[in-house]
């Protein structure tokens, strides 16, 4: 568990592709470099998608957990 404060939470639970990624990108835009963004999703494809998104955009995937069918990603804005 990271102890740092999450700056914003994106609740993408129940949403299908491409909305979890789209909402994340929109939220990341408003963050300052170094701030943390937490994303909650239920789309099983999001595990691979968020890894790919982080790689492509240079934002860091700090943490990734799954609990009760909810995928949780913590990303650090580049």
């Amino acid at each position: 568990m990271s102890t740092e404060q999450v700056a914003q939470i994106v609740d993408a639970k129940g949403l299908s592709c491409p909305m979890p990624i789209v909402k994340t990108a929109q939220a990341a835009k408003g963050l300052a470099s170094g701030q943390l963004l937490e994303v909650l999703a239920t789309d099983p494809g999001s595990t691979k998608d968020f890894t790919a998104w982080a790689k492509a955009t240079g934002n860091e995937l700090v943490e990734q957990t799954v609990e009760g069918g909810v995928y949780r990603f913590v990303l650090r804005k580049k």
């Binding site: 299908s16 789209v22 492509a56």
Partner: protein, 182 residues
């Protein structure tokens, strides 16, 4: 490897797979939106929004049936002459009036697709179009198609770019844009 060399070649260390340079400027994406069917419109919109979300500059060239999708939903008949009017009558333009290429069944198919999309929280092509525009995806109408179908600027949805021709498309491809023909 099945490559045959006539003269022995010195063993070469296999080059490592090009590591994607994290955070480097990604290739621009050019979607050539040619088809007007519901499922292809959907694919165009999903890829355009995702491309923008991945940090790429996305342009969508709207041509032939693909351009009909970007006529205002409330427009029923477009064009000047009888033939142009008949064309729009036979295939209703607008993003909310797309038909499926298969299983259309007089609109039953698209209606069922819409129901399923709602049930599974899949954003509609129209919603995705609005998101794409808000994320800076550039839509470029094809001038030739505009002329051929008698479409005027006021027939089209807001926020489209200036009409362009095939040379603009080719120049973007030559410049290295990743192409998608849908």
């Amino acid at each position: 490897m099945t490559a045959v060399a006539e003269t022995p070649v010195p063993a070469v260390e296999p080059a490592p797979a090009p590591a994607p340079d994290a955070g480097a400027k990604p290739r621009d994406i050019l979607i050539i939106c040619y088809s007007g069917e519901l499922e292809k419109t959907w694919a165009t919109m999903i890829l355009a929004t995702t491309g923008a979300a991945m940090g790429a500059k996305v342009r969508v060239f709207l041509t032939f049936w693909g351009l009909q999708t970007f006529v205002k939903d409330q427009k029923r008949i477009t064009g000047e002459g009888m033939m142009q009017k008949m064309m729009s009558f036979m295939q209703r333009p607008g993003i909310s009036h797309r038909k499926l290429s298969k299983m259309n069944f007089l609109g039953m198919g698209p209606w069922m697709m819409g129901k399923l999309a709602k049930q599974y929280n899949v954003a509609s092509p129209k919603e995705l179009l609005e998101i794409a525009q808000s994320m800076g995806v550039e839509f470029m109408p094809c001038q030739m198609t505009m002329d051929m179908f008698g479409l005027k600027k006021e027939d089209m949805i807001d926020g489209l770019g200036e009409p362009v021709g095939a040379a603009t498309v080719i120049a973007l491809l030559q410049g290295g844009d990743a192409p998608l023909f849908i």
